[in-house]
């Protein structure tokens, strides 16, 4: 039996491709903020950012331990070796509070990004 599924899938793929190549990348027009990890805690513990604008958070691991910078609400998870710096790109955030923590060390105090 011939089914419409492959045709529908091809159409969906074309739509996605069109969206990909016609869309503005979210990396453009991005605000940058920084979080540093040292002495077993994040600084600042609370990061206030502007809601509704794309954001890049630079995370610096200044400690001598490997951490996993993770945010459940923001769906981000990155392991970082000592001395490593990463950039976490985020879409425009709705006003609210978003968690972040070190998933490798449950005793590290949780931080938060507040979008206003």
């Amino acid at each position: 039996m011939k089914s419409a599924i492959p045709t529908l899938f091809a159409a969906a793929t074309l739509l996605v491709a069109f969206h990909l190549f016609s869309g503005r990348t979210a990396a453009e027009e991005t605000n940058v903020a920084s979080i540093r990890f040292a002495d077993h805690h994040f600084t600042p513990q609370t990061l206030t950012v502007t809601a509704g604008e794309p954001l890049a958070v630079k995370v610096i691991n200044s400690s001598n331990e490997t951490i996993e910078f993770e945010s459940f609400k923001l769906n981000r998870e990155v392991a970082m070796t000592p001395g490593e710096t990463i950039t976490v790109r985020l879409p425009p955030l709705r006003p609210g509070t978003y968690d972040f923590y070190d998933d490798f060390h449950q005793d590290v105090p949780e931080g938060s990004i507040i979008a206003k």
Binding site: M1, K2, S3, I5, P6, F9, V16, H19, L20, G23, R24, T25, A26, A27, P54, T66, E68, F72, K73, N75, R76, E77, V78, A79, T81, E84, I86, T87, V88, R89, L90, P91, R94, D99, D103, F104, Q106
Partner: protein, 282 residues
């Protein structure tokens, strides 16, 4: 006249093996009721995962429902162990051990699988986050699958909107050795929508299915399609879980399947250095 009738009956008997449907289509992998996200395992991190599915209400003959071999699906426990290592910030490697316990027939080795999976670019670089998945499946276990070696390819598409994630894995599978080697690619899918409610407990809904060969799909009632309402999250000590009941949506599907997946990750040390931020593949 009687001799001619005998010839017709003899000819029909010879044709029977060729009249049966092709191989039991395996685009629905019952060992792996899992939707793969865009994110890969962090570099240097290892994850041990066990994926389990028990067919609570299935089919009574082999080759039907999720059973692609000679054992029946009713009462089958599909039990998979998966070891994943984050090679780079964008690529992970996995090895799988497939086991099964057909109802009343003990505990069996059912195959092994080897896979590479990656993400393209960094999150939020493209309007939809894209990834890729390439897997070699090694069976040689006709009790569970009549194909010996298979190749499975999946593009991975993910879009996060607020606290919702929408993920699609279209599946393209080709038999490289065994029954079905001369046929083309089969098409299946695993896809899901998830809401990040609480770190420890969140809801989602997943869909799995297979349509048969791309250029000659099975009749709809012979295809398998499932819906799984799931709960998922991370328990203390970093134990991640995803579980829920699955309901077959067609006659060819098993009727009820319970799945429960558990995973635990630990950092063991990276082989490679950080991936370049401007990179898109490695």
């Amino acid at each position: 006249m009687k001799k001619r009738l005998h010839l017709i009956v003899f000819g029909a008997v010879l044709l029977i093996p060729y009249l049966r449907p092709g191989r039991a289509m395996a685009q629905v992998d019952p060992w792996e009721f899992e939707v793969y996200p865009y994110a890969t395992e962090s570099r240097g991190t290892i994850e041990l995962e066990t994926d389990n599915a028990v067919v609570a209400n299935g089919h009574s003959k082999g080759g039907e429902g999720t059973a692609a071999g000679t054992f029946r699906s009713q009462g089958m426990w599909y039990n998979q162990y998966e070891l994943t290592y984050g090679l780079t910030d964008r690529i992970e490697a996995s090895a799988y051990l497939l086991m099964a316990s057909p109802s009343g027939h003990g505990y069996w080795y059912a195959g092994s699988e080897y896979r590479l999976r990656g993400r393209l670019f960094d999150p939020e670089t493209l309007p939809i986050d894209l990834g890729w998945y390439a897997e070699l499946e090694w069976h040689h276990t006709p009790q569970f699958d009549d194909a010996d070696i298979e190749l499975e390819l999946r593009p991975i598409l993910e879009k996060d909107i607020g606290r919702f994630s929408f993920i699609a894995n279209p599946i393209f599978e080709k038999v490289l050795k065994g029954v079905g080697v001369h046929e083309g690619f089969e098409f299946g899918y695993s896809t899901g929508a998830y809401y990040r409610w609480m770190r420890y407990l969140s809801p989602g809904v997943e869909f799995y299915g297979g349509a048969g060969l791309i250029d000659d799909t099975d009749p709809l009632d012979q295809q398998q399609h499932y819906i799984f309402p799931v709960i998922w999250g991370e328990l203390p000590h970093g134990v991640e879980y995803n579980l829920g009941p699955g309901f077959g949506l067609t006659r060819g599907s098993d009727h009820v399947i319970m799945k429960f997946n558990l995973g635990l990750e630990r950092f063991v040390g990276a082989i490679f250095g950080p991936s370049p931020e401007s990179g898109w593949f490695l």
